[in-house]
Amino acid sequence: MKKLMLTVATLAMVACGGSDVTRTVSNDPFCQAVIPAVDAWLAEARASHPAPADDRYGGMAVVAAVGEIADGMNSAVARDYGATQHQQFINLMTLIDYDDVAFPRPYLAESWEVADDQTSITFRLRQDVFWHDGEQTDAHDVAFTYAAVTNPETGYANAAFWDHFVHGEAGVEVLDDFTVRIAMRPHADPMDPFRVLAILPEHLLGDVPLSELGRHPFGTQCPVGNGPFVFYSHEPQSRWVFEANPAFPEGLGGRPYLDRYVYRVIPEQTTLLTELLTGGVDVYIQPTPDQARMIIDDPDLDLVNFVGRDYVYVGWNARLPKLADARVRQAITMAIDRESVVEALLGGYGRVANSGVPPFHFAFDPDLQSPVSFDRERARALLTEAGWVDRDGDGVRENASGERLSITLKYNPNEIRQTIAELMQAQASEIGVEIIPTMTEWNTLVGQISSEARDFEGVVMGWQAEFRLDDMDLFHSERSDRMFAFSGTNNPEIDRLLEAISSTRGRDASRALWAEYQQEIMVEQPYTYLYFRDRLAGVNSRLSGVVMDARGEWVNARQWYIEPDVR
């Protein structure tokens, strides 16, 4: 009897406990209003746009990663990679996207024109794109989104995107319902921001005060997009569910093949690998390099890897007298065997970086000979030449006034960065430079390097490069008070090149400048550039048509398909 009661109690708990609704719908009034509208529109769209007779339509794919899509679908405040990817390729639409060699091609905008004097871009929008609640996407949406993200009140994270654009409502003009003109000052690569910025619905968000846009339920509770997948539900820290948009424009490939796309959050990587190996998830975003072997060895799985956009470096504070001489910075870089660092830390899934220009980028110069490749003898000679000699025989060099060449290297708690700091310590000691690794909590560390006091000597950090490269805010001497211009670089040649690059139009014209800049950066060594990390993904081979490259893992999610026999 007692056991029976226990069983009943367990079942009752299982059935009633937890969120035992099949779909998590927020009770926020905004969501309560838009979700039924989306459901109604989707039902109608399904009826009027039946899936074409093709075996590839149907099925569900599950993608999993360790992190939540923290900022959701609100492109005005989004900061994390997963969020921008889902905005660009899953739920929303950008004006343009890139082909596989990163040339702009039409997406929401069917065409565009850059004015001859380079002071404006006019976008002409497609007329067959609808928000998932039935409203048509038009020029007013673009104008609203642009005005919102260029207004400082919104707090758009990547404000540097809009450096050369006219901000706020003054910068955008609706010419007719499907034509919009954006004002700017002449500069290189003006199209890139429009690849990243997903357009938001003006009819839903137009009345929201900009400072409150970030906390609107649109972002994570009930986004209404216009992209290939319609938002279905989001359980925080657990999963996002999207369904195929049957009315996605034919001209852009029409309805996605998958019926349903699910993003799952699984914070523990061993569990994630297990789920991939047991078929619980189809795509594992960013397995660790030591898991890559197991994925390769499994006949049902493929390992996709491509050179990512993020690079890891050690930044030096050239404002300090002991690091002001470029020869000292060069010597330290030369003392580090960066090839072995990539091998040891990333299992070979990465590439030595010599500048912030990623290897897939048009500006990348593959013929560049690094003047700072691993060479301890030359490193020692350089230090001696710069006046740093071990005068007291303690193994650490001193300058003429007896100051030791001892550098504190800060890093945030992260296994890889700690290893980097320790490797640097061991290898620099070979040339008589003392490096003292110091762990500093992330927020504190960012506060220290970005503060006006620039309270650091060396720091292990990483940046994510965009397709439109611009090191102005990092290395231009006139911008040395910018938050992350912590290197304190002051080099007229670099200033000149950065200015020339940012005003030169066309890839062919700027390629030579870029080559010159990369050469100059290697001599200057504001950072010891370490590596570009490969992005890895484990993909179940039942999922076909997967393309992943520097544009992102989700770049062609709407063309992923599953053959009926493995659904």
Binding site: A15, P152, N158, G219, Q237, R264, T271, E441
Partner: protein, 328 residues
């Protein structure tokens, strides 16, 4: 009794307020800045200031405290920056999930613990007793995190992919990805199927502890006079053990419930991470990592209340089970 409970609840108010205030101070005085979670090279100081202002962090600490306390009293827990949704919403989503996990674990732990402890006591010094002791001590001394990973490896990965057993369990999540497309019965089964591994990982160590308690308690009871009387009356051993001894031996065990409830909530932190269970433990850890002040505050407030209530339940249960205890 009612007076006692009300009195306890009233004294709990300043206690919870004190804990929450202390948390507020600790969290705000610790280094860190939620506006600097993500950084880009071109980031502007003004943008950071704006983000801070949008979060309400530009105000002096005492103003923030006043606002927070005022809002808290009216049940407004604020807005979580890291989850980009109201804190109340985050907690409402996560708390039932933790409750389900820890509730099942508690239940399972007590059932296993009581059964095994009783068996050991009845068969004191037998091979079964020694063997069970060894096994229980093994689970008792294993770190929860490691046990969880081993369960994932053996019951999910190896069982499915290598040994190809007919029964294996999913390594993560509360439900399958196509849960909403299943039949009602299928949904219940799907939920139980997903509960097996996390519940086991959480309850095995607890069960081992409870079994030790139960064994001791039972041994004490069976030596007492009324048990000898029962046996002397000629009652079958089964009746002696289950009707007379067990009931009395359970008294001290039941008070353990109250002790274990708060432990379970903190114990779920690791288990929820390993099994990707979207509960409170993970919520609070993530919130601390991202300096999500309102969420940390609300979550710790919740934990404080849970502990207070659990202690109250324990004390009350004690009175209910043992008629000799009176709170008047």
């Amino acid at each position: 009794m009612t007076r006692y409970v009300v009195g306890r609840l009233l004294t709990a108010i300043p206690l919870v307020w004190g804990i929450a205030t202390l948390m507020f101070l600790l969290v705000h005085l610790a280094p860190g800045d939620p506006a600097l979670q993500y950084i880009t090279p071109g980031m502007d100081r003004e943008v950071v200031e704006q983000v801070r202002a949008n979060f309400g962090l530009d105000q002096p600490l005492h103003v923030q405290y006043g606002r927070w306390l005022g809002a808290m009293v009216t049940g407004d827990f604020g807005y979580s920056y890291s989850m980009a949704r109201p804190v109340a919403d985050v907690v409402a989503n996560a708390f039932p999930n933790t409750l389900l996990l820890s509730g099942s674990a508690l239940l399972l732990a007590f059932v296993i613990g009581i059964v095994l402890g009783t068996i050991q006591a009845v068969r004191q010094y037998s091979v079964t007793d020694s063997l069970l002791s060894v096994i229980l001590l093994f689970f008792y001394s294993m770190p929860g995190f490691w046990l969880a990973l081993m369960l994932v490896l053996s019951m999910s990965l190896f069982a499915n992919a290598i040994w190809e057993l007919p029964i294996w369990f999913p390594a993560s999540g509360m439900t399958s990805a196509d849960y909403d497309l299943m039949s009602p019965a299928g949904r219940v089964l799907d939920r139980i199927w997903h509960l097996v591994l996390p519940t086991s990982a959480l309850s095995l160590a607890l069960a081992a502890g409870i079994a030790r308690f139960m064994r001791g308690s039972m041994l004490e009871v069976v030596r007492q006079d009324f048990i000898r009387t029962a046996r002397a009356k000629g009652l079958p051993e089964r009746v002696v053990i289950f009707r007379h001894a067990l009931r009395n031996a359970l008294t001290p065990i039941i008070t353990l419930v109250g002790l274990y409830i708060p432990f379970l909530f903190s114990g779920t932190v690791f288990i929820e991470t390993v099994f990707a269970w979207p509960g409170m433990g993970r919520t609070i850890v993530d919130a601390i990592g991202t300096r999500d002040y309102p969420l940390i505050m609300a979550a710790s407030f919740f934990f404080a209340i849970t502990v207070v209530v659990a202690n109250l339940i324990a004390d009350t249960l004690y009175a209910v089970v043992d008629p000799r205890v009176r709170y008047d």
